[in-house]
Structure formats: structure tokens, C-alpha cells
């Protein structure tokens, strides 16, 4: 086990908890709306943004955030305009972002700069700064307020968008807001936990919660709890085993998901009362 300064350890743990909370809360929407590939898109938008930042000699983080914000803003309207599933538009934008990243990297002299851009894609939990924590804390607070205030609208839309529209809800506004918040959650978390972990934190905790509950409210509550617990246990596993932190967290959340599938009460068949009464 490696000895880390306690301040570094605390900021890293806090970063993982906040990223776990933000990603797995938006995961409740992502899983229901079949937007699982949004993690790929946002990580590569950040990568292209970082490459762009290096190309024009500004901080790559600023470039990454600008691109991620831009993509999360245009994703919803673009899907609407193209009359395509959001997942299809995500696929289109994903390849477009990779192409842009390669073009930008082509203009950056030296491999060191390219490696800086690639770090955005992989992230590093030990590079969490106080400003990262502050940003994620503010975002997590906004996310909680959004879910509480618009819970009834979100439930109506997640059930059936057309029926929600027919009841007088401006579904387009909420749909875009959900896509935007998911994009922001990913782009804030990506530098801390990396593209791979962001993807796992969005999908795994919510998919685990889905195995146990029929009530969307409980999924909203338990998805972030499972996300945070996965992060903490994964962190601990990493410290005792020297596994990479990101991989450890993914491993733990995958174990939780597997256990959930095996023990899911949703698939259990009850004992037949008719047979009991006959015997």
C-alpha cells in the first residue's frame, strides 16, 4: 500500500464521491432514455476541445469545457431537427469529435502536447483541484434542486413523452435540460475520473438500482448511493491492492451490478398459491 498525503487522499475521495453522485444521478435519465453512449461523446468532445486549446495555445482544460458545453447544448436540438434518436446523433457527433481532435492534434508540434490532450480522456483522480471540487459541488446542488423541483414533469416525460406533451408540459425544454445536465456532469467529472470511469459511473449504479425497484423515486435515491459506495469501496480496493483507482471503481460497480442481476427481485417468481392450496 502506497502512503499518500492525507490532504491529497481527502480531495481525491471527495472528487470521486462528487463525480459518483453527479454521474449516477444523471444516469437515471440516461438509462431510461437509452443514451448510454453519451459518455463516449462527452469524453471525446473534451478531448477535441483540449486538442483545440493546445493548438491555439490556451489552457487545454478551458478548450475541453467549452467543447463539452457546446456539444451538450446542441445535442438535443440536433436530434430533434434531424428527427433521429438521440443515440444516433450521439454516434454522429462522437465520430465528428474524434475527427476534429485528430485534425487539431496534427497542428500541435511535439508528442508532449498530444499527451496532455490525451490526459483529458483518461483523467487522473489525484490531479483533483479545489476548484474542480467546487465546480462539481455547485453542479451537484443544481442537479438535486432540478430533480426535486421538476420531479413530476420528469416522471411524466420518462414514462411517455407524447402523453406528457398532451398534458400541457413543454417536454422539449425538459428533454434538452436533461441532455445538457448529463453533458455537464460528464464534462466536469471526466478530468477527475477519466472517460472510462465516467461511462461506468453513469450506467452501472442506475442499472444496478433498476434491478431492485419499480419506483422511479427509489431509483433516483439509490442510484447515486450505489455510485458513491462504488467509488469509496473502489478507492479502498485500490489503496490496499495497488490497482489503478479508476479500474478498481469500475470493478466494484460491475460486481454490484452482477450481484443485482443474480438477486433481482424483479425476476423472481412467487410461489403459486393455487398449488399450495391444492396440496
Amino acid at each position: 500500500m502506497i502512503d499518500f498525503p492525507s490532504a491529497l487522499l481527502i480531495t481525491s475521495i471527495l472528487g470521486a464521491i462528487l463525480a459518483g453522485f453527479a454521474c449516477s444521478t444523471t444516469g437515471a435519465f440516461v438509462v431510461r432514455m437509452n443514451l448510454s453512449s453519451i459518455g463516449y461523446l462527452m469524453s471525446h468532445a473534451a478531448f477535441a476541445g483540449a486538442a483545440f486549446g493546445l493548438m491555439i495555445s490556451i489552457d487545454p482544460i478551458i478548450g475541453a469545457i467549452i467543447f463539452s458545453f457546446g456539444i451538450s447544448l446542441i445535442l438535443g436540438p440536433l436530434a430533434e431537427k434531424a428527427r433521429l434518436e438521440s443515440n444516433i446523433v450521439i454516434g454522429f457527433l462522437f465520430s465528428f469529435m474524434i475527427a476534429l481532435a485528430f485534425i487539431f492534434l496534427n497542428f500541435i508540434p511535439g508528442t508532449a502536447a498530444s499527451a496532455r490532450a490525451l490526459r483529458i480522456l483518461w483523467g487522473s483522480i489525484f490531479s483533483v483541484s479545489t476548484s474542480d471540487l467546487l465546480l462539481l459541488s455547485i453542479f451537484s446542488f443544481i442537479l438535486i434542486v432540478f430533480v426535486i423541483i421538476f420531479y413530476k414533469e420528469l416522471i411524466a416525460i420518462m414514462f411517455n413523452r407524447k402523453l406528457a406533451e398532451s398534458s400541457g408540459i413543454n417536454t422539449r425544454l425538459y428533454y434538452f435540460a436533461v441532455l445538457f445536465l448529463t453533458g455537464i456532469a460528464v464534462s466536469f467529472s471526466i478530468r477527475i475520473v477519466g472517460g472510462l470511469l465516467v461511462f461506468a459511473l453513469i450506467i452501472n449504479p442506475t442499472s444496478t438500482a433498476y434491478q431492485f425497484f419499480f419506483d422511479f423515486k427509489k431509483i433516483f435515491i439509490f442510484s447515486p448511493i450505489i455510485g458513491i459506495v462504488s467509488c469509496l469501496v473502489g478507492f479502498w480496493l485500490s489503496l490496499i491492492s495497488d490497482f489503478p483507482i479508476g479500474a478498481s471503481i469500475v470493478l466494484i460497480s460491475a460486481i454490484f451490478f452482477t450481484i443485482a442481476i443474480i438477486f433481482s427481485p424483479k425476476r423472481k417468481k412467487g410461489k403459486s398459491k393455487i398449488q399450495q392450496s391444492v396440496s
Binding site: R32, I155, L163, S166, G168, D215, F216
Partner: protein
Amino acid sequence: MKKNSNIIELENIETIYEGEKSPVIYDINFKVKPGEFISVIGPNGAGKTTFLETINGLLSYSKGKCFVFGKEIKKHKSEIRKEIGYVIQNFEMDPLAPFLCKDIVMSGRTGKIGTFRFARKNDWDKVWYSMGLVGMIDFANRPIGKLSGGEFQKILLSRALAQNPKILLLDEPFSNLDYASRKQVETLLNRIHEKNNITILIVSHDLSFVPSRCKRIIVIDHGKIIMDGSREKILKSDIINSIFNGNGGKK
């Protein structure tokens, strides 16, 4: 704002889907007085659903004008929809979908409750009342995906009723229902109409289920209203026989 006694008024309406050249419905002139109970019948693909969704503004019309409560739907969509209960044609539901029946029924009141407001006791009372009305109160905490087609249809009807609507638009509410359930829903619709005097438009491709309180029938075929009259007149008409082959199917 149009001042007259009609609750719904369509003038020369034409609705075309995006990317299509020919309209799904056209030359639609239709007036409804408050409290009327109307059946909209026609074979599959005649444009009945398009007709309903033009009235509540889910589809925007390309020609003409549509007024509901004297206001043009294009300009007052959200406001008007809060007063219209809509039961969508049955759709497939994931058996593991994480929604409870009571929450789905409550979602019907979302527009009425308003943004930045939470459901209160009064809203839940409306939910319990409308679930009781369709005989589904015992299903309140059941997952929506575990219901049979008929039960699901009743929850959708209950959702629309929880809205406390002035107009009820029902798209094929008898589909997926067995004979007993159809009779139940028919009785229920008659009772709702009698008690609350709600304006009801019910779309069906089945001539055998026109609720007894429904006194007016319109027939849509190939996107046009071809008949509009009293129940007796329409059901005895020869044209009906030329459109339907007696069991609701297309000839």
C-alpha cells in the same frame, strides 16, 4: 379569441406529416358544442388519430384554423392542453419499467398543477378518485409494466380523468379489451358523461362499440369527413356498409 358557443371549431383544416406531399386529413370542417359525446369512426389509416392530435395540437396543421375553448390551438397549446384529457392508442410497455400506477395517474395532473409547484392533498384526492372510478384503486402501488392490456388502458383513462378535463379525447380506448372490460369502459364513459357533462370524442374503428350516450357520429375515410350526423342516421347508412364490412375491418 373566438366568441361563440362551440368548444371545438375546425375550419378547413389540413394536416400534412413532415416529408409527405399529400395531407393525412384535409377539408376538415367540424364544430362541437360543450357536452357533446361524439364517436369518430373510420377504417384503419383513415386519419382518425391525426384528427384527434390536430385538435389537441400534438400535430400542427398546415392549413385552416383550429379553435378550442375559443382560442387558437397553435398560439395557446400548453394552456388548452391542461383542459384536455388524452388517452393515447395502446403502446408497448417495458415489463420492468420503473413506474407505479399511482405516479402515472398523477402525471396526468402535471400540467394542471403547474411548474414550480408540488402535488398537494387535493391532487392526490383527484388521483384516488379517478382510479376508483375505473376500478383500479387496488393497483395504485403496482408497477405499470406488470398490467394486462385492459388494466393498462384503464390506468391511461384514469390518468386522463385525474386531469379533471373539460374535453376527453380517446384514441381507440376499446382496443386490447375483452368483451367484459369493453362493456365496463363503455358504462364508465356513459357515467362520466352523464355526471360531469364532459365533451367526449372517441375514436374507434369498431362500429359495434358506440357508447349509448353518444348521439353524434362522424365518419372519416381517406382523410376526409364523409359523414356527420346523428347516431341513428349514420349507423343505418348504406355508406357505412360500403366502408366497413360489418365487423370493423376495411373492405
